[in-house]
């Protein structure tokens, strides 16, 4: 996997006359994590849809998206090499675990045996040895989540978008899966954009934290709560309980 950064240049999204995402410029270096926090319905996932190339419906969006030196804004979703991990694992239920992984596995791995060996190897590394023929429905929540990430990584994305992927898991599994995701992303040197409303996710992610909030005039603004650029500010209450320990 190549080490390319993600750059957002004046990315903004509007629904009717309501600004969901005000013009946002941000650079995420390879291996770095930026967390965007905000309340439900604030447009965090919509931003990820725009970055992933799957934004449809009544939204109006603008801005430019760069992956390394390549501008991906005009590209179709499948050509951007931007992977998204959703809150639900979204394993394809009609395919086995192995087939799910094979669906994701990049075409660069050729030959049936080579592909099978690669899948078996990543399953083994993830503690899921022998799971290839299993039906996704027979897996636990944590196992399904891990398979979803493995499938995504096998596609060799250059950017990882995390759409609150830890929410559905219970507390123990959540911590374990966070570790699993961030360690794999770091190993692959992927720039990661995490959206969440859980302060613990942001804590675990480290790196820059941005917070979406509505200011006194009713306008949507993005605060840099923690990060290399700009001052550390305390987020508004809508951004969640980050004030308790996010600003260090």
């Amino acid at each position: 996997m190549s080490a390319a950064g993600l750059r957002l240049e004046q990315v903004s999204i509007v629904l009717d006359e309501r600004v969901l995402i005000p013009p946002l410029t941000e650079q995420i270096a390879p291996g770095a994590v930026v967390t965007l926090m905000g309340p439900s319905g604030s447009g965090k996932s919509t931003l990820l849809s725009f970055l992933g190339g799957t934004l449809t419906g009544p939204f109006r969006a603008a801005g430019r998206i760069w992956v390394g030196a390549r501008e991906v804004t005009p590209l179709a979703a499948e050509r951007r090499r931007i992977g998204t991990l959703f809150q639900d694992d979204l394993l394809f239920p009609h395919l086995t675990v192995g087939e799910n992984l094979a669906f994701g596995l990049a075409r660069t791995v050729r030959g049936r045996s080579a592909r099978g060996a690669r899948i078996a190897a990543v399953l083994a590394q993830a503690g899921l040895e022998g799971f290839a023929p299993r039906d996704p429905g027979t897996l636990s929540g944590g196992q399904r989540a891990r398979v979803a990430l493995l499938r995504l990584l096998l596609a060799e994305p250059q950017v990882l978008l995390l759409d609150e992927p830890f929410n559905r898991l219970d507390a123990d599994l959540r911590a374990e899966f966070r570790q699993f995701v961030f360690s794999h992303a770091a190993a692959a040197a992927l720039p990661v954009l995490l959206v969440t409303h859980d302060v613990a996710d942001a804590e675990a992610a480290g790196g820059t934290v941005l917070a979406l909030r509505t200011d006194a005039s009713g306008a949507t603004v993005i605060d840099r709560v923690r990060g290399a650029q700009g001052p550390c500010v305390r987020p508004a209450p809508q951004a969640g309980p980050m004030t308790e320990g996010g600003c260090r």
Partner: protein, 581 residues
């Protein structure tokens, strides 16, 4: 201008809305053209001869002579009256019984037997059902046999017209039996989108009985979704031909049958009053729908007052129980009609008033095997082709809708209902003229195309909801994994939605097998299907032979549904992958 408005003015729409998708872009237009052009041309081609204009027969002057000829026909008033009474009463009865039944079902779910019987009745072609009802209601039918001689004292079939009666009662009964399962299915589907139990619990806390609460709270929420299906039933009941040929009176018949007789006449001069009758039929349907709509508004206003009065106790509970009982009874009647077809097909001697044949034999089946083969293969070929084309078009439209992100507005649904709302007799003659101009008249292609007009709306209505309900993030995930939209369609969406796709195809086959008038007109008498044969045989042929044809005709749709249920069991694509799951 606020900041938001200023920003919105500068921003383009979401990029996917602007993306082109190759030939898929043209799918909705091709679909609309394929099924609306023949109907539009058909209505025009039927309307012009009603005013004396039919260039193919060298008639190029405007005249009201066809209308004068129509009004001069003996019994035309009775024919119009019959059309209105049978069509309206069948629709009102079916709607009232279904609503009463649903209100009562809110207390207790439908029995397994009733649910099991609904499927075959829904799947059975109208003509087969009419033949079965005729076998049941006839003076020598099962109902009279059941009561004779111990109650009636009859040892011979009575000399009374219980089928093809002058008042159209048998036709009305047949229509009610056939339309109840359809309306019930539509109602149950609409009810699935309303939190019925929670609302009934809330109403119960306010002192309302469940039937009362259902009618006041639930029905107003689901009626909008049932409006078009009800109009389709109304239009069908007012203009039905095959059931009216079998169950309706012969002299005078209903208006659409009268028009068909003249259209089928070797005397071409009769085409003109036939066209006038067909146009009048269209007018009757349009006026009836308008009256029904006015009735909806009126009843809606009265219902608001009724709701505002806050009455807690009424006889509605008893009426709903009665409606449920009647629906159960009519469902049994429908099932018994289908059973009667099967019994007659193997009856070897069946004296009145015996309840069952003396002997059973497969002799008639063996005798008819050769005769069956040709119409059976034609029926299968036409049904398979029409359903396959409809499925391809519908899948292309739905895929284009998802890829472009442009949601079809509910008003566009009216387009789909056009073939179901416009009486067949009002446009099929004109469509035949169009096919003649295209040199397709009397060919299989013309029959397939004319069946497509009716198959396509049902396939779309059946498939659209499950297709749209599939969690869009599956496709997004697959795209993010680098799969092309085509691969996502073939590897993810189609397998996940295999069951609804196959059910839609089975519905397409059932609708195609059901078609009588389109086959008669587009086939120009040269294309023979099981339905055209069964209707012909029903008008006086051997009951056993008629039974054989009607049984095969009924089994085909059931076989289609059976395959649609069974095939996914042997694959992995049966997951209920719905949004938010």
């Amino acid at each position: 201008m606020t900041n938001g408005e200023a920003l919105a003015a500068q921003l383009p729409p979401a990029p996917d809305r602007r993306r082109s998708h190759g030939w898929l872009r043209y799918a909705p237009w091709a679909t609309v053209a394929l099924f609306l052009v023949p109907i539009g041309a058909g209505v025009l081609g039927t309307a012009l001869p009603a005013f004396g204009w039919l260039p193919g027969l060298q008639r190029r002057h405007w005249t009201l002579a066809p209308w004068r000829a129509l009004w001069a026909q003996p019994g035309i008033g009775t024919a119009i009256g019959l059309t209105l009474t049978s069509g309206l009463s069948a629709t009102i009865l079916a709607v009232a019984l279904v609503f009463g039944c649903c209100a009562h079902l809110a207390q207790r779910p439908p029995g397994r037997m009733v649910r099991g019987l609904m499927g075959p009745i829904l799947a059975a072609p109208h003509a087969a059902m009419a033949i079965g009802v005729a076998f049941l209601l006839a003076p020598s039918g099962w109902i009279v046999r059941l009561l004779s001689p111990w109650l009636t004292g009859w040892h011979q079939p009575p000399d009374i017209a219980t089928v093809q009666d002058p008042y159209g009662i048998a036709l009305t009964v047949g229509l009610v039996v056939k339309e109840i399962p359809y309306l019930l299915l539509m109602s149950l589907s609409a009810l699935g989108q309303v939190p019925v139990q929670r609302q009934l619990q809330a109403a119960a806390a306010l002192g309302y009985g469940r039937t009362n609460a259902w009618l006041k709270l639930v029905l107003p929420q689901i009626y909008a979704q049932l409006r078009l299906p009800i109009y389709a039933v109304l239009a069908y009941a007012l203009s039905v031909v095959d059931m009216a040929l079998i169950l309706g009176p012969g002299n005078p018949p209903t208006l659409s049958v009268l028009a068909l007789r003249w259209f089928s006449s070797p005397h071409v001069r009769l085409y003109f009053p036939a066209a006038a009758a067909a146009l009048l039929q269209l007018g009757i349907v349009v006026a009836s729908i308008a009256v029904w709509r006015a009735g909806e508004v009126l009843i809606g206003r009265l219902a608001r007052r009724w709701i505002a009065r806050g009455a807690r106790h009424s006889v509605l509970g008893a009426l709903a129980a009665l409606a449920r009982g009647l629906v159960g009874g009519l469902t049994l009647l429908g099932a018994a009609s289908l059973l009667a077809l099967a019994v007659w097909s193997v009856a070897a001697g069946w004296r009145f008033p015996d309840l069952l044949p003396q002997r059973c034999s497969a002799a008639v089946w063996r005798q008819q095997a050769g005769t069956l083969l040709w119409p059976l293969s034609t029926t299968l070929l036409v049904a398979a082709a029409a359903s396959a084309v409809a499925l391809l078009l519908v899948l292309a439209c739905l895929e284009q809708e998802q890829r472009s992100g442009i949601q079809v507005r509910s008003r566009a649904l009216w387009l789909l209902y056009v073939p179901l709302l416009v009486p067949q007799i009002a446009f099929l003659f004109g469509t035949q003229v169009l096919f003649t101009l295209l040199r397709l008249d009397g060919t299989l292609l013309a029959v397939i195309w004319s069946h497509l007009l009716f198959v396509l709306p049902y396939v779309f209505l059946s498939l659209a909801d499950p297709w749209r309900a599939l969690d869009p993030r599956y496709a997004r995930t697959a795209l993010a994994l680098g799969a092309s939209p085509g691969r996502v369609f073939l590897r993810i969406k189609l397998p996940l939605l295999l069951r609804p796709v196959l059910v839609a195809a089975a519905i397409g086959v059932a609708v195609s097998v059901d078609q009588y008038l389109p086959t008669i007109f587009a086939g120009a008498g040269r294309v023979v299907t099981l339905t055209t044969e069964a209707v012909t045989l029903a008008s006086g042929g051997d009951r056993r032979v008629t039974g054989v044809f009607a049984v095969v005709q009924s089994v085909l749709p059931l076989a289609g549904y059976g395959l649609a249920v069974l095939v996914p069991r042997f694959t992995r694509g049966t997951w209920p992958a719905r949004s938010g799951s």
